[in-house]
Symmetry: C2
């Protein structure tokens, strides 16, 4: 199955026009992640029939409430449902304090372990590497410490052209070939170039939640297949974007263009816009392959 993102919330700051607060579900190479978790995320998870119990990783970009006020409730529900598998949470260190004060107040003992990793708001860091994918955080330019996240599929295995191999070819050598390594058997060298097809190019998804226009993030998101970049404001509200450290549609599109992204996903819309189509039109004037992050929408990476 292709990696994909499903939008759970697209509103900035305050819920409006049936839009929920920031949250995205990510299935990357079969691993299940939640990115940001605004209030009501667990309702949206139910609404869109996301398999919440399979989520193993939660990434919180920053500690403005519209990006994490749904997290305590989600963790509490996991607990009440008797979850046992560990949860890995990545976010600003102060999030740990907030969760601890909430747990202390409720006197609840979690049914599952939570492993918390602090993100570093000042530089690019690899924060997770598994067999299937890796995650990297990088600084955004917002009013408080805020990080973007880059999700990269791990390089897959080569596909073995088994018909081409001689009879009796050992299984353990096949595994080496699938890893792309040449092997020697019965005095002959078997190159992966001849006996395998190379794996598909690994896909990458970058998530830039809340940020002013900044080209400093370009090195981290270059050539991504899918770029989510906030577009809180219309190009006409440029001054407001500057003041609040947010971006306009044109700025998001410019970043996508300069990063040579394949596809751009716009979100985090201000409540001042009831209709979002004009925002999309603005972005498309700079970067055509742009889409609106509407609730429930699924985007392959």
């Amino acid at each position: 199955m292709e990696s994909y993102v499903q939008i759970l919330g697209s509103s900035s700051a305050i819920p409006a026009w049936d839009r929920y607060m920031s949250a995205q579900f990510l299935n990357i190479n079969g691993a299940h992640c939640l990115i940001d978790c605004g209030e009501g995320t667990q309702y949206q998870i139910k609404r869109f029939k996301v398999k919440a119990s399979k989520i193993d990783y939660i990434f919180i970009s920053h500690l403005h409430g519209d990006h994490y006020f749904g997290l305590p409730g989600l963790l509490s529900s996991f607990n009440l449902l008797g979850r046992e598998r560990p949860m890995h949470i990545f976010g600003p260190s102060a999030l740990r304090d907030v969760l601890l004060s909430i747990n202390k107040a409720s006197k609840v003992i979690n049914s599952f372990p939570i492993y918390f990793t602090d993100t570093n708001p000042n530089r690019y860091e690899t924060i997770l590497e598994t067999e299937f994918f890796s995650v990297h955080s990088f600084p955004l330019d917002h009013r408080i410490d805020c990080t973007g996240f880059l999700f990269k599929e791990a390089v897959g295995e080569h596909k073995l052209l088994a018909d081409k191999l001689p009879e009796g070819f050992p299984y353990e050598y096949m595994r080496e070939l699938k890893k792309g390594k040449p092997v020697k058997w019965q005095e002959k060298v078997f190159s992966p170039d001849d006996y395998t097809e190379p794996p598909a190019a690994p896909k990458a998804f970058a998530y830039c939640s809340d940020t002013a226009y900044t080209e400093s993030l370009l090195p981290f998101i270059e050539n991504v297949n899918l770029l989510y970049h906030e577009a809180t404001f219309s190009k006409n509200d440029f001054e407001r974007a500057l003041k609040t450290r947010h971006s306009t549609t044109l700025q998001a599109a410019t970043i996508a263009q300069k990063a040579k992204a394949d596809k751009l996903l716009l979100g985090h819309f201000s409540i001042r816009y009831k209709s979002l189509e004009p925002l999309l039109t603005e972005a498309k004037s700079v970067f055509d392959n742009a889409y609106l992050a509407k609730e429930g929408g699924i985007f392959t990476i």
Copy 2:
């Protein structure tokens, strides 16, 4: 306008069957209150067009997440909308710590003052008295500290029978009569019995959020016009109620009967019940004037 309660959430612990977490809007003698504030309350406030900006008082019964995880988001939205009028919050003292840790993490400076009053989980206390109503907290029997709330309308003014008064009767003496006090004018005593109609009997509403069956709360809720009492479980799940310090339908109805309440409102339903009608039938077998606290439902006091 008669005092009334509007239900914003009726689910216990976890959202299910389109039921939201505990929250009720109360209009008492024109004052606007919110009682408990589970996750998603601000969405429900929008959905039912409750005038949120007029809410001046918030009462939190205890610190299980399903009763207050919507509070940080609601306060944050008030802030973003530039609210200036003070908010008065009443709840367990640990709530103060949670709100402080959240505020510290977001580095947000509130646009409005918050006055916080600790509730006492161990005894009956008057926690608020205004010209229009008073509020009293009392202990419930739950797994953690938890208080119920009794809301009482203030005694209203007498209605002046102005036609009966002689010409030239001074305005300041009219005001005394409206307060129910006799006055002497031109050597004659004017009794409120003769020149006014007495005010309507003040109404009372009691809110018992999460509690095991306990007759210890009867003195505090005697003769209330409307009693909200949790009924998390069916009578058949009696053991489960006992273990989790919750009540069954029959227990809630028995409390209403013993308290001589006029009307009983059942809520905080476990996710195990999709249909609530059987729960209502159970309660009615003991106390007939019983209702389900369904989302959006309005109940006069």
